[in-house]
Symmetry: C2
Subunit: 302 residues, 2 copies
Amino acid sequence: MKRVLLTGASGFIGHAAIAPRQRAGFQVVAVGRRAPDAEDVEFIGADLLDRTALSEAVAAAGASHLLHFAWFVTPGKFWGSEQNLAWAATTLDLLRFFREAGGARAVLAGTCAEYTWQPGGTLREHQTPEHPASLYGVAKHATRMVAEKFAITSGMSLAWGRIFWVYGPREAAGRLVSDAIVALLDGQRFATSAGLQRRDFLHVSDVAEGFVRLLDSDVEGPVNIASGHGETVRSILERIAQAAGRDLSLIDFGAFATRSDEPMLIEGAVDRLRSEVGAPPGRPIETGLRETVEWWRSRGKK
Amino acid sequence: MKRVLLTGASGFIGHAAIAPRQRAGFQVVAVGRRAPDAEDVEFIGADLLDRTALSEAVAAAGASHLLHFAWFVTPGKFWGSEQNLAWAATTLDLLRFFREAGGARAVLAGTCAEYTWQPGGTLREHQTPEHPASLYGVAKHATRMVAEKFAITSGMSLAWGRIFWVYGPREAAGRLVSDAIVALLDGQRFATSAGLQRRDFLHVSDVAEGFVRLLDSDVEGPVNIASGHGETVRSILERIAQAAGRDLSLIDFGAFATRSDEPMLIEGAVDRLRSEVGAPPGRPIETGLRETVEWWRSRGKK
């Protein structure tokens, strides 16, 4: 029986990973402070930042596989937070305890912010320089280096999925897509930048599916979990307005200046994800956005 | 009053750093499991690997400065040990707690193993590629990256002293100089490699002095704490035999093969240490080795 220890199971991507994990024949053991809202999931309550509790929980889980999403990701705060140090430390603890407990295959969540973002373009594993500009990016980058070396020295298989822009049902407030949908469904004005920058957006279920495929594979090292296609922020918002049945004039493009250090294009190369991991392309952005708008509407938004 | 929180104070370099720290006008607060064998040092007993105990100890220390030496360095075991993950995690914890408690200036111990060792030569800060081959080197390298970025985002001053080969009184068994001295003073045969590789050796008191100067400076980033001069292992051992009054024939050069992945020369550029930090050259190697042999002799070796 394959058993996967899942962290961040009550979070945005972690929650979306439960169902496909179970379909793939895994028993899921969630470890964290909050039990996930899902069926047939074992749950071991533990504060991951408590080293002793974490050690005991990992030993109790007895997992062959590890899928680690938990990190400090509060919108607007995570880029420069000292909590990045705490989560880097905890991730190293977790990996060590997992290996001690006999774990064989680990997949950890990385980020496109590990790459240099200047001058932007298509970011490619093992090719685009890793030169993160933020503390968040540095902490993830540093954690990956230690994790990959530890995997080699300890004889464990390890991959590192790099997340780009994620949207979909259950997204927290404070992020572009969720805030825009909520505002537009409410008929409120939504202030934003000119929106000409292109970013790689992937639906949360497709991100989760990519991680599921990666965990089931024996692919090692960094793998972009992305759509492979940069979409302008403007077109994302226009599609949301359309799906919400609202007039485009509600969107105040140019209300905020575009940051001068933001490159015009950030998208992930998906060669590894498609050919090595075998993950299919996710749903088209228009389908995913319509679905997400419907989800919010069903939650009582107009 | 400048107060320095010192870790590793009962260790090889940490212990040597106490006296010069005090001379420089610092009150030393040692934090660790064992009280250092030194006078006028405050001691707060805490297992650094216990996050809660560490947090409390750092808050209680109320230090303006941090000098962090503690790490897992058991000879023969530290290169690939999983303990490197624990100490990387603990170092990030320590730095975070120190900053939370109002700390302003931190100096942490790095290693020449952060640099690529191929093809060898003179390793220079900000110039020689950082491409560590060992888990120990990767863990130190990764820790430095996060520490430096955290210092910038949190407004703290931070430097990173890279240690090369250290010798001197109180060195643990299992290392070249200490083992050779003990064997030769006992009149025992000492088996070694051909000894043609050149390494940068610095007396522990001079290493400690370099760290003291670095801590008192406002120099930031990586600084080699080295002699600047690679010495052959053969000449080190010949000098030990001479100081011990033993015949060279006791040394079995070539008993062990030289590892094929070991470069012939590893030495540190000391431009930053001399001109920016202002540290004087340490004692000549022959003086330092004679002193070290005398120390072992005074401990009851013949």
